[in-house]
């Protein structure tokens, strides 16, 4: 869109062209305006509390705010709102101020109806949240902070295990200080409960707290538990398609992608599954985490399988870390067994299952227990499913990342309708089902990293009534990742005192 600029009492002021009726002022695209300064706060201005609630701690586009342009402009003129550049020229090329993208190939331009420019540059990296372009400012709140009047008592009454308690205490101790803390908790350690006391302390100190996670399902599962634990606290969830975005929340659950909307909003930032896709390899998402938190915020990282870089930082004492090596039910992690199954790839090509795997699948089918069977690639998933169906009576199905029935199939697996579920690494996290065994067909394949194998093994033995699930690595020659994964699990068990 286009703005005009003019001097008022010796200070430069800008305004959207449609709000100014002065033919002498030449409108230009927002990006071509001279640098603008923040206006000084006019304390006698009666600001909109609704706008404050929505905009506080965020960076939003005009299209995301259901307010008349005139209202926004008045807030800017009185120092309560600032127009910030959305995409601006960087040293080389462009930079997106919402997602931090600086990759050339993720910028494009178009002939823009709003600013009349033939090549209005926009960011393609965060396009799923609406287009940020050179001519569209990002708005931020520069007025007074919000007063938080609620009482944030923790109503959760459960008990922590000894190791959970240690981690929880470390966390509580850190609240109020800045810095980082990695909570390295095995799959099934009960990490959510470990967060409760620290969050309570932070909320009581008037902090704004965010739990960021790469997966929407985690938010859907976590939100009701947190609402029950903190019934007097306003909690909002942000994920693609969520509807709680306008709630002025003290505690925010957000997918890492939705973090782009926030700006210096949080004093406590908890990043769940810090090693998981897509946070671990997307630099712009790391940028989002730092932009969303205050510069002196405390950052808590949660992971069952920290990346090599993180582990290195722990060893070098650069990253404080507390481990929970034992599951909440107090039993050890099931150790994977390696089963040699010959040239599984060649056999599959010939339409046959490896004999060792076949023996296992037959006995599994009559055992009444469910199993997740991981395969290395989507391309063989249907074939394996079909082959298994030829040998067993129970219901067998498959699910992969782009399966439109994914949610439905996982639900049917939970209910025990589907008994054998063939899948790829997409379900290595998050699915928790009792009475479950895990098999990895082709565990030696290069797609299975140590961490992926540990996560898959971590699906078994999750409930206290079935703590000793089976984990089988069917392979054609042990890979380094397989051996490292087994060592990883053994070390954790050792550390837990088994």
């Amino acid at each position: 869109m286009r703005f005009v600029s003019y001097f008022l009492n010796d200070r430069l002021i800008i305004a959207p062209e449609i709000l100014v009726e002065n033919p002498d002022l030449k409108p230009v695209p927002f990006g071509e305006l001279p640098d603008i300064e923040l206006r000084s706060l006019n304390y006698s201005f009666k600001y909109s509390e609704k706008l404050q609630q929505i905009l506080y701690g965020k960076m939003l586009l005009l299209d995301e705010l259901q307010f008349p342009l005139k209202t926004i402009q008045e807030h800017y003129e009185n120092g309560f709102v600032m127009y910030n550049p959305g995409v601006k020229k960087a040293k080389y090329g462009w930079q997106c101020n919402r997602c931090g993208n600086v990759n050339d190939h993720l910028f494009a331009s178009f002939s823009c109806f709003r600013c009349k420019s033939e090549s209005c540059v926009y960011c393609r990296n965060c396009i799923m949240m609406g287009r940020v372009s050179v001519c569209m400012p990002l708005l931020s709140w520069t007025g007074p902070d919000m007063k938080d009047k609620s009482n944030h008592n923790l109503m959760w009454q459960g008990e922590l295990s000894a190791r959970q308690q240690i981690a929880s205490d470390r966390f509580v101790e850190q609240v109020g200080k800045s810095g980082e803390l990695l909570i390295w908790a095995v799959c099934g350690a009960g990490k959510t409960e470990v967060l409760f006391h620290g969050i309570e302390k932070a909320l009581k100190m008037g902090f704004r707290v965010c739990i960021a996670t790469p997966r929407t399902d985690v938010i859907l599962e976590l939100a009701p538990r947190l609402k029950e634990a903190f019934p007097n606290t306003i909690i909002a969830s942000y994920y693609g398609g969520s509807e709680e975005r306008e709630t002025p929340a003290q505690l925010v659950l957000s997918t890492t992608h939705q973090l782009y909307r926030f700006k210096q909003a949080f004093n406590l930032m908890i990043v769940d599954e810090v090693d998981a896709f897509p946070y671990s390899y997307d630099k712009t998402l790391q940028h989002a985490v730092s932009t969303a938190s205050n510069p002196d915020a405390l950052r808590i990282y949660l992971s069952a399988t920290p990346s090599r870089t993180m582990k290195k930082e722990v060893i070098q004492n650069k990253l404080p870390c507390v481990k929970i090596p034992i599951r909440f039910h107090g039993f050890p992690l099931p150790e994977p067994k390696m089963v040699w199954s010959g040239e599984w790839k060649k056999r599959l090509e010939r339409g046959k299952l490896p004999p060792a795997f076949l023996r296992w699948i037959k006995s599994q089918a009559v055992s009444g227990r469910r199993a997740m069977i991981f395969v290395p690639s989507v391309s063989i998933i249907e074939k394996v499913t079909e082959l298994i169906r030829g040998h067993v009576e129970v219901i067998v199905d498959f699910v992969h990342a782009e399966d439109s029935l994914r949610k439905e199939k996982v639900a049917r697996f939970r209910q025990g309708d589907i008994m054998l579920l063939i899948t790829t690494t997409i379900l290595e996290r998050g699915v928790t089902v009792p009475f479950l065994d895990v098999a990895i067909l082709g565990a030696d394949h290069e797609v299975f990293s140590e961490n992926a194998l540990v996560q898959m093994a971590g699906r078994a033995g999750r409930s206290k009534d079935d703590y000793n699930g089976q984990v089988l690595f069917f392979h054609y020659g042990k890979s380094l990742s397989m051996l490292s994964a087994i060592k990883h699990i053994r070390d954790m068990n050792k550390e837990a005192g088994f």
Partner: protein
């Protein structure tokens, strides 16, 4: 070395279109995204250009589909739209691509279709006046661009924005088929009647869904004296 225009995956240029379509242009989508697009080929409805392979036998009569026959049986609409031709089947994947382009505003995506549409529609576009289906002013401001206009400009030929939309799109899409087929409340008007007279017009849009939008536009074109009106869309 390239990044896929849609999924942003890095891919090598080891595959090319020349093998598939005899085209020398560089592919802009990765192989996996390209595979999800369905080119329209084989027998098609003479009028609307939909592929016969995709719907049951009983919905066609001779060389036309049942929908088109219904249009042609109505004397108000018969013969207005000479023919429509489309590049791809409007399948789930293309729906996602077009939605990202239109509703999220990723205008760049349309470039992925340039090379193939240029070559496929070369002969149709040569001797016609290309007229993109316009958006209402409100809608165009909201979106920042008109995808039909960008698409039209990418095809070789003479592009003229001779149409204007006077009714907002939402009111149009809420109507039932019967409403839509009634010719009153045509959302379009012709801006320059002289520019249309005795011309062979080619309307350009992103998607042919029910065919009513294109027929409304064809109607005002004919009323303004156009010789004949056809259309080209990206998806059908």
């Amino acid at each position: 070395m390239n990044y896929c225009l849609y999924c942003h995956q890095f891919y090598s240029e080891t595959w090319s279109w020349s093998a598939l379509f005899g085209l020398k242009a560089e592919p802009l989508l990765c192989q996996s995204c390209t595979a999800k697009l369905e080119l329209i080929r084989g027998d098609i409805c003479r009028i609307c250009g939909r592929p016969f392979s995709l719907f049951p036998e009983q919905y066609r009569q001779g060389d036309s589909c049942y929908d088109c026959i219904r249009w042609e049986e109505d004397e108000e609409w018969a013969g207005l739209l000479q023919q429509n031709r489309s590049l791809y089947v409007y399948n789930d994947f293309l729906k996602k691509v077009i939605a990202k382009m239109k509703y999220r505003g990723d205008a760049e995506l349309i470039k992925a279709f340039y090379p193939l549409s240029r070559s496929k529609f070369k002969s149709i576009t040569q001797n016609s006046l290309l007229v993109p289906i316009p958006l209402s002013k409100e809608r165009q401001y909201e979106r920042g661009f008109n995808q039909a206009e960008i698409f039209a400009k990418s095809l070789t030929g003479n592009v003229q924005p001779l149409l204007k939309r006077v009714t907002h799109e939402e009111k149009q899409s809420k109507k039932t088929r019967k409403d839509r087929m009634a010719k009153k409340n045509n959302p379009f008007i012709v801006i320059d009647e002289d520019g249309v007279k005795n011309k062979s017009i080619l309307l350009i849009d992103d998607v042919y869904t029910t065919g009513s939008t294109l027929r409304y536009a064809a109607k005002v074109m004919k009323d303004a004296g156009a010789d004949q009106v056809s259309s080209v869309t990206l998806a059908r």
